[in-house]
Amino acid sequence: MVALEATISAISYLTLALLLGQLMTAGFLLPRGEPAELRRSLTAWALGALLLFLGAYVLVLFVQGAKMQRGMPSSELLWRYLTMTQSGQVWIARATYGAALALLTWMLAQRKSSPNAIRFLAILALPLVASRSLTSHAVAVREDRIWVVSSDALHLLATAFWAGGLIGLWRVCRLARKRNQALARTEEIVKRFSGLALGSVALLAVTGFYQSWVHVGSLETLFNTDYGKVLLFKLLLFSVMLGFGTLNFLSTRRILARAVGGNENGEVARNKALRRISVETFVGLLIFCVTGLLTVLPPGIHAVHQAAAATGQAKSLTTTETTKRFLPADGASVKILAPQTGQLFASDKVPLRFNLTKGKRGHHVHAYVDGELMGMFQSKAGTLNGLKPGRHLLELRVVAEDHQTELDAFDRVEFVVK
């Protein structure tokens, strides 16, 4: 089941990248004067990729149902999933949008479409690629969700531009060789793609670093968790791809330019360029496989909880029940801003606001009400729920990432629930 989920996930990424890459190539990279059938062929490939994606997306739904039902999912369960969950509603929206886009792409593939029409189609494909973020690890983070989801969406788009565009470039270069087209055209396309790739790589580096920081959090997690190790492998592949990208950017373009100028054998230059582009494309495909695996792995930052759940180990979290470990604050501190001392609340829901300085070891706070742990908070606001009427003592304590080591950094306040 897990292998199937990872594989389908990788295929989804790959097909969407292929869709965007073909449309970008047909709409933006091909110079004027290219044969119309080449554009039509690229659009047809885009349609094929989109149909493959829709097929894989139906499988995604069935795999999701099978995970929840621990077997063949019933139609009733799938309907409940689609209508009652956030990820189900995202599935409906993406599937509908994808089907409409497929219809539009099919209509364009039937006729001699202008580059502008294909560009418009490429722009319409962007939300379909980016919206994968709405069911990814990014949507499950506790803090700065809008930033993490946006960054994930940009990361997906940049990947599709680069790796998907490479597949488009590879096809165009291969067809150019087959048709013995002028080398100047190939050189122009490679030059145009280089600009797109350069921007994509910069975006990938920035968003990739941010995503890694959010989902991994520390070097220890990077090296000691499954998620971290797979991410390292992905970074290795990314470096290899970047190496070939650099080679193409610095060397291949120059070789093609020299050949166009008559200073080098055109056929040798064309073959060399195609060989290098093929390798870069292949590494890009490998990256999609690894990305598919990452989507089914728990983010490294949850390793502590994952290990606790797997072993069933008890956590020592309350002062009244077990002996606690306290470490020096080392710069950590917390200040409760709300509730204020003596504040009266009419309901059992009490809004909580605080300022947290993490220092060297601090990661989040534990909230104790009358000595009983009520929750953990990573952001600077939250709500205490289910409080009984009466006077209560709230204590916030700064805690290390392992959830067990509390620091000598706390703040207390008394309040009343009517």
């Binding site: 897990v2 292998a3 990872a6 594989t7 990788a10 295929i11 995970k67 929840m68 409940r80 999933y81 009652m84 969950t85 956030q86 990820s87 069911t135 990814s136 690890h137 949507v139 499950a140 983070v141 506790r142 291969r174 499954d226 073959n271 195609l274 060989r275 093929s278 494309t281 292949f282 495909l285 490998l286 999609f288 496989c289 598919g292 695996l293 089914v296 792995l297 728990p298 983010p299 949850h302 909880h305 994952q306 606790a308 759940a309 069933g312 180990q313 008890a314 956590k315 020592s316 979290l317 309350t318 029940e321 742990l373 009520m374 929750g375 953990m376 709500t383 729920n385 289910g386 959830h403």
Partner: protein
């Protein structure tokens, strides 16, 4: 060139198939905090069990069942959502003994996880 690329593409597909390996743990939302705590011995009978998970969860596909010393179900009513990541289930009046809290949740990033937490209600005066 085409055949070389085809070989490469085949290798990618093989790699996809080889993703069926075992030692990974494939899950995402875990209990970060529970009340009563996992493994705790408490003196006052709780009126509910509350779990805060590491991620937001979908309550429509999540459940918590609390079982008593003889395996009898002591939780009652519907699972209540307190926040995106925190849920609670009401309990019948408890007597001293060992209790297990069986949880299964669907996280907002579509992953299903489950597990068991435990707590003990001590005899009065102990």
């Amino acid at each position: 060139m085409y055949s070389k690329f085809s070989i490469g593409l085949s290798a990618v597909l093989v790699l996809l198939a080889l993703q069926a390996r075992g030692p990974f743990a494939w899950a995402h939302a875990y209990p970060a905090v529970s009340v009563p705590n996992n493994g705790a011995t408490i003196k006052e009978p709780p009126r509910e069990v509350r779990i805060q998970f590491t991620e937001g969860i979908e309550i429509a596909f999540s459940e918590i069942t609390v079982k008593g010393p003889n395996g009898e179900v002591v939780s009652q009513g519907k699972l209540r959502r307190l926040t995106d990541d925190t849920v609670a289930i009401d309990l019948k009046p408890l007597r001293p003994g060992n209790y297990s809290v069986e949880w299964q949740v669907l996280s907002v990033d579509t992953h299903v996880t489950d597990g068991v937490l435990r707590f003990t209600l001590a005899e009065t005066g102990k």
